[in-house]
Amino acid sequence: MKRGALDIRLAPDGAALTLLTERAVWSEPTRALFVADLHLGKAAAFRAAGAPAPYGASEETLGRLGALADGFGAERLIVLGDFVHAALTDGLAESLRAWRRARAALDCLVVIGNHDRRAGRLYADCGFAPIDDPTLVDGVACRHVPLEADALDPGPPTLAGHVHPVARISGRGRDSLRLPCFVIDGRQIVLPAFGEFTGGWLVRPEEGRRIVLVAPDRLIEWPGSAAPSRA
């Protein structure tokens, strides 16, 4: 396993899911890559509303996604909602088609999140198959909005997005940092936002909750849950 990856088994007999520093989850047996909350086109939506957000964030995000899928040789990509931020602009639709053309063999599914509704049927035109929230894919429940704590048992392993989790780590000299994180509650993993131009929801530690912080070159189990992962 490469440095900066952490295997998680959500059920004792289930297959491992691998958390990645790239803010994604990889399933080796099904060769599927999971990401959440890219919010592509957010800057364009701001511009249309009269707020001059700069260019570049969406292209960068899409570029990273492509590199990641290519690097793993993924056969399937599952976006756990909020793939785009607002209704697709022509420019973004064209970028998506180009991205798709370069990966014709890749199977692309998008859970329809709250932001995706505005993108409408255009997904299909661009070669991304919209699926309901939730949908069971190869035994994994793919959701946008995470399950509430009281709905966690029983059920299949679940991956979700929506909340853009971040957590805080601190040390001597009153140093502290906010880092994106994965949140593992029982059978559910909530993924950090994959997009550039996204905010965060500060996660608090709770009994039975595992928090895995995403540093540039490694994943760190939040103190108390387990020892930091080292390759």
């Binding site: 511009r47 509303a49 009269g50 001597r172 000299g173 009153r174 140093d175 940092l177 905010g199």
Partner: protein
């Protein structure tokens, strides 16, 4: 005619037992001569009447609502300039604002034909900085105009008065549009809003005079810049429009006048001093047992008991604190000592519900309250005659501020203004000694207008584009008539136009972006209705902290009590208790921006409101160094210094006293890390620059992460990794070779810190990058904060030359880190001998810095290195 009116003014004043002050007569004469100017006074009354009655004397004819007769009846129009006495039995107009207005006319037959001349009625615009003051001002003006009209032999109708603020209902606004009042009381934000209306030109077509109240409150900030731009627009609509400012005394009145009238017109402006010889007493409440005075804690019961005794001795007392949480704590302490005062003492601060504050203000006016614990919320406004004493808890922060608060007492004729400083820790004893010396010497702070902030200008451009549109060349000329933008460069103007029309510089225009659109006729307008709506929601130059309403409930819903910061509520769990508005409340739950609470018993926490942390003025900081110097020589020349003596002796024993010829520094190693304390006594803004610079220089020697804290006396740098401060210090404090080199260093330190990023939050808001509330979409202010941080990051990454980023950097450099003063401070420090003392425990000077919660961070380490260290700390803690 004019003389009769002047006689009416004197008669009305005489009926109330007043004779005009010389400064009032002077102002009236100047206003009747169509002059503009600034009326200033240290304390005292009469400025409002001077300006209001002056305007009436000069323009009374214009403001009075004249009948407009339908064309068929045009022959019945009364002679120009001559009012016609109203016949008895004529009812007032239904839209009338009250106050003795009667429709002139020739009898009941003409009545149905009387229509207000909407375009010519608004004669006087009265701008006040606080909307809470608008109602009081409205009342005062109405009373004055009704009083003088009743005694005006010409029988002209009285000036009507209205208010237009964020509190004004839509129905009232509609009424004002149909039938404008003669005088309108408003705020800088509401003025901008009126200027953003398509009918702005018509609204102000008959305007004859503008008065800006409490100009000293506005001049030094961006709201003042918004006001300057609004005034320039009004002068654009009404050339020659005279402006009058009312101000407390400042150290730089000439500059205040220049900012009010604009540099070109300031030469013709008059400076009138409202000289009222009113005795003023400034003293300090000294602890009964000076030797046991706490230097490291806060207040202590001893001071509360002394304050109770002072309150008891006076009829009505205002107890001023510096922050809201302090007011809450003091209110509790007083009630604890005197439970029988429940109902007789009250609490007043800006986060309490308007109804509560109104009730307190009524009680103050009526004299039914014994004492009110308050914050700057009662700094301004109408006078509370029963107030005899003012107590200032904690640092007075500035000479002018203390004088302003002192002026809230002793308003009845022949009474004395008295302010008593109540120190909350021993260092404030020295501040008290210093402020008394400064008042004795007549040293008062200056306030400077901000220099060409692009965010406010961008907002103004959109406002004017909405209010009928603009031709860029003309608007530039108009904008440059203001003091703030007199030196606006063509390049900055170009950028501003690009920003509002294309979202950025020409080379990198955003095609999807269209806030202001240049028309084929050369006029720039806003064409999108959503953008227009959003802009009007967002107008203003104050970015308030995210607030949550506190209300009894949820079922049944009860009274709204006020508001607390979102961050405070976010940390609350159901069942937790907290003090608010002087009561104990139990948190129930947060729902759609409302924190539901129920009444509770017992103790609780006190919410901390950020903001309102005012720096010690440099005038006062200088006076403080002098007081320290006297003490260091053993010259305890005032009761305050004598009381501080035990603390000063501890400081001398554990470390040393600061002196004019030495620069005191201290080091302390604790579990939290390696600490350095330095005491230049240069004021907190300079200390922030110095701390950033010293930390940056230390970081250059070896990468690191530092936590900085500053106060008005010095700064602290805390390093999480080992630092030999003694060895580093001489290099870290070395003067810079020149200003350019120092600026470069400070910019580098800025990029390693968070200062520019925080500055950017307000800039992004004012420039309209992020919006507090989108129409039809509840977007919490918290989301907005996160977004401005995100904006900062994406701009840094994808558009590093963006003008707003550069403004954030420039504001941090100029306002927070005054580089020129930093340079001279470094030189001055180099001339002093470094007196470095290793400490075993925190000294009286070090302690407040060590416990300071609001800290800056500076780092030039990689994320990975910082994470490594934090993990190391965690593992060490786990092994221990």
């Amino acid at each position: 005619m004019a003389e009769a009116r002047a006689a009416a003014v004197v008669a009305w004043l005489a009926e109330r037992g007043w004779t005009p002050f010389p400064f009032q007569r002077e102002t009236w004469a100047l206003m009747r001569a169509r002059r503009a100017g600034l009326l200033h006074a240290t304390t005292g009354t009469g400025k409002t009447l001077a300006a209001a009655l002056g305007a009436w004397l000069a323009y009374g004819d214009d403001g009075a609502r004249r009948p407009l007769i339908r064309p068929a009846d045009a022959g019945h129009l009364p002679p120009e300039g001559e009012g016609v006495a109203s016949p008895a039995g004529v009812a007032p107009l239904p839209q009338g604002e009250g106050g003795g207005q009667r429709p002139p006319g020739e009898g009941s037959a003409a009545q149905t034909n009387i229509v207000a001349t909407a375009s010519h009625a608004l004669a006087l615009l009265w701008i006040t900085p606080m909307r809470a003051l608008a109602a009081d001002t409205e009342r005062a003006l109405r009373e004055a105009f009704a009083g003088v009209a009743a005694r005006d032999p010409s029988g002209a109708p009285a000036w009507t008065v209205g208010a237009r603020t964020g509190d004004t209902s839509a129905a009232e606004r509609a009424r004002q549009a149909r039938s404008p009042p003669s005088a309108l009381v408003t705020t800088p934000e509401s003025l901008a809003l009126m200027l953003s209306r398509p009918d702005a030109r018509e609204t102000f077509a008959g305007l004859r005079c503008v008065v800006v109240d409490e100009w000293h409150e506005l001049i030094g900030n961006k709201r003042g810049v918004l006001t300057q731009l609004g005034l320039a627009r009004l002068r654009g609509l009404r050339p020659g429009l005279p402006t009058w400012g009312l101000s407390a005394t400042l150290g730089n009145l000439g500059e205040a006048l220049r900012a009010l009238l604009g540099p070109q017109a300031a030469g013709q402006g008059a400076l009138v001093e409202a000289r009222i010889d009113k005795p003023l007493i400034v003293d300090t409440l000294l602890p009964r047992a000076p030797g046991r005075f706490p230097w490291a804690g806060h207040l202590g019961a001893a001071m509360a008991a002394a304050v109770v005794a002072e309150i008891e001795a006076a009829r009505t007392t205002l107890v001023f604190t510096n922050v809201r949480s302090q007011a809450e704590l003091w209110y509790q302490s007083l009630l604890k000592l005197r439970p029988d005062w429940a109902g007789a003492i009250a609490l007043h601060h800006g986060s309490l519900a308007r109804e509560t504050r109104d009730w307190v203000e009524q009680g103050l006016k009526a004299g039914t309250l014994k004492a009110v614990v308050c914050t700057s919320s009662l700094d301004l406004g109408v006078d509370f005659l029963p107030v005899e004493r003012v107590l200032q808890v904690g640092s007075p922060k500035g000479v002018a501020r203390l004088l302003q608060r002192a002026g809230r007492s002793g308003h009845a004729p022949g009474r004395v203004s008295r302010v008593t400083i109540v120190p909350s820790h021993a260092l404030e004893l020295i501040e008290a000694a210093a402020v008394r010396a400064a008042i004795r010497d007549g040293r008062i702070e200056s306030r400077k207008s901000p220099d060409a902030p692009l965010d406010v200008l961008a907002q103004h451009c959109v406002t004017v584009a909405l209010g009928g549109g603009f031709v860029p060349e003309d608007l530039l000329v108009e904008v440059r008539t203001t003091a703030a933008y007199a030196a606006l460069s063509d390049e900055a103007w170009r950028w501003c136009l690009d920003f509002v029309s294309k979202g950025g510089p020409t080379l990198k225009a955003y095609p999807g972006f269209r806030r202001v659109v240049p028309g084929a006729d050369g006029v720039w307008r806003v064409v999108d209705r959503d953008i227009a709506h959003r802009h009007r929601l967002n107008i203003g130059a104050i970015v308030s902290d995210a607030a949550v309403v506190v209300q009894y409930g949820p079922a049944p819903r009860g009274a709204k009590l006020g508001s607390v910061e979102e961050g405070f509520v976010a940390r609350m769990r159901a069942g937790q208790r907290f003090w608010f508005g002087g009561r104990i409340l139990e948190f129930v739950r947060l729902e759609a921006g409302t924190a539901f609470v129920k009444a509770a018993k017992g103790g609780g926490t006190t919410p901390a409101w950020a903001g309102g942390r005012m720096p010690l003025s440099t005038t006062l900081a200088d006076a403080m160094v002098e007081a320290f110097a006297r003490a260091a020589k053993g010259d305890y020349d005032s009761p305050e210094l004598a009381a501080a003596r035990p603390m000063l002796e501890v400081q001398a024993k554990w470390s040393a006293l600061p002196t004019p010829s030495t620069l005191l520094a201290e080091t302390l190693t604790s579990r939290e890390g390696w600490r350095l304390f330095v005491y230049p006594f240069a004021g907190r803004d300079i200390h922030l620059g110095l701390a950033s610079l010293v930390a940056w220089r230390a970081a250059r020697a070896e990468p690191g992460t530092f936590s900085l804290s500053v106060n008005d006396y010095g700064f602290e740098i805390l390093s999480g990794s080992s630092r030999d401060w003694a060895a580093l210090l001489p290099d870290c404090l070395a003067p810079a070779p020149d200003l350019a080199a120092l600026t470069a260093e400070v910019v580098e330190s800025l990029n390693a810190g968070e200062l520019a990023r925080r500055r950017f939050r307000d800039i992004a808001h004012i420039a309209g990058l992020v919006v507090a509330g989108y129409p039809g979409q509840r977007k919490s202010a918290k989301t907005m904060q996160a977004s401005s941080g995100l904006f900062y990051d994406v701009f840094r990454k994808y558009d590093p030359d963006n003008g707003l980023l550069r403004q954030a950097e420039r504001e941090a450099l100029d306002d927070e880190l005054d580089v020129k003063r930093l340079m001279t401070t470094l030189d001055a420090m180099a001339a002093r001998r470094l007196d470095l003392r290793p400490l075993e425990r925190a000294t009286p000077l070090a302690f407040p810095l060590m416990v300071e919660r609001f800290r800056e961070q500076l780092s030039n380490e990689t994320l990975t290195a910082r994470i490594e260290r934090m993990l190391g700390d965690l593992n060490a803690a786990a092994d221990a």
